[in-house]
Amino acid sequence: MSDVELLKTVKADKVVDARGTSCPGPLLAAKKAIGEISDGQTMEVLSADEGTRRDIPKWCDKKGYKYLGTLEESGYFRIFLQK
């Protein structure tokens, strides 16, 4: 199974829909929401902001979270990470 196919099977413990905001809105929404999940749980951030798909992996790296990958949908991105 490819990484993309694998990612499509992920059922995130928390989904954050930040498609109505621009940078840095999705990143801040992710930061707010990360406090609401436990270590090992997964989160999916929905963002229509191109910059966010690059920011979230960097943010994960700095904060010690595991970036799982991004799925590109029509007009937005599904960005997955694990706390």
Partner: protein, 139 residues
């Protein structure tokens, strides 16, 4: 490990640059940076209670002002005061009004400025803080 520190010498009183500052603050907040903002000269005008929400001056591309402001609205961009407030809620942000700048705009006490302001200080405090910062910006 101690948080990284950002100091921001905020000189501009224009909404385009204040909005940019708000975006940068959001990035700093996401990374839990400690932030100290020093409100200098023209920025002190924008921080006056009577000006914060009505001031719509832009510093760059003044002929595109209407398009710029309309785009901010279309993109649901929060007003710069809201962006600053969000950052303050999410990380350690202190807003210092330069005493000299305040006087330039007839702001003599903290109560003359919006609630984002934490205190009034001298420039020495900025220099001391910037000396110990990981990132120092002038806007």
């Amino acid at each position: 490990m101690a948080n990284k520190k950002l100091t921001l010498a905020l000189y501009s009183g224009s909404v385009d640059k204040l909005t940019a500052a708000g975006v940068i603050l959001g990035g700093a907040a996401a990374e839990d940076m400690d932030v100290e903002i020093f409100v200098l000269l023209q920025a002190a005008f924008a921080f006056k209670k009577e000006n914060a929400m009505t001031n719509d001056r832009v510093a760059e591309l003044p002929d595109k002002k209407d398009e710029f402001l309309a785009s901010l609205k279309r993109l649901n961009t929060p007003h710069w005061t809201e962006a600053f407030k969000t950052a303050k809620e999410m990380t350690n942000v202190k807003v210092h009004i330069c005493g000299f700048a305040g006087k330039v705009w007839n702001g003599f006490k903290l109560d003359d400025f919006i609630d984002l302001a934490d205190d009034i200080c001298g420039i020495g405090e900025y220099i001391s803080s910037a000396e110990n910062a990981d990132v120092n910006l002038f806007i």
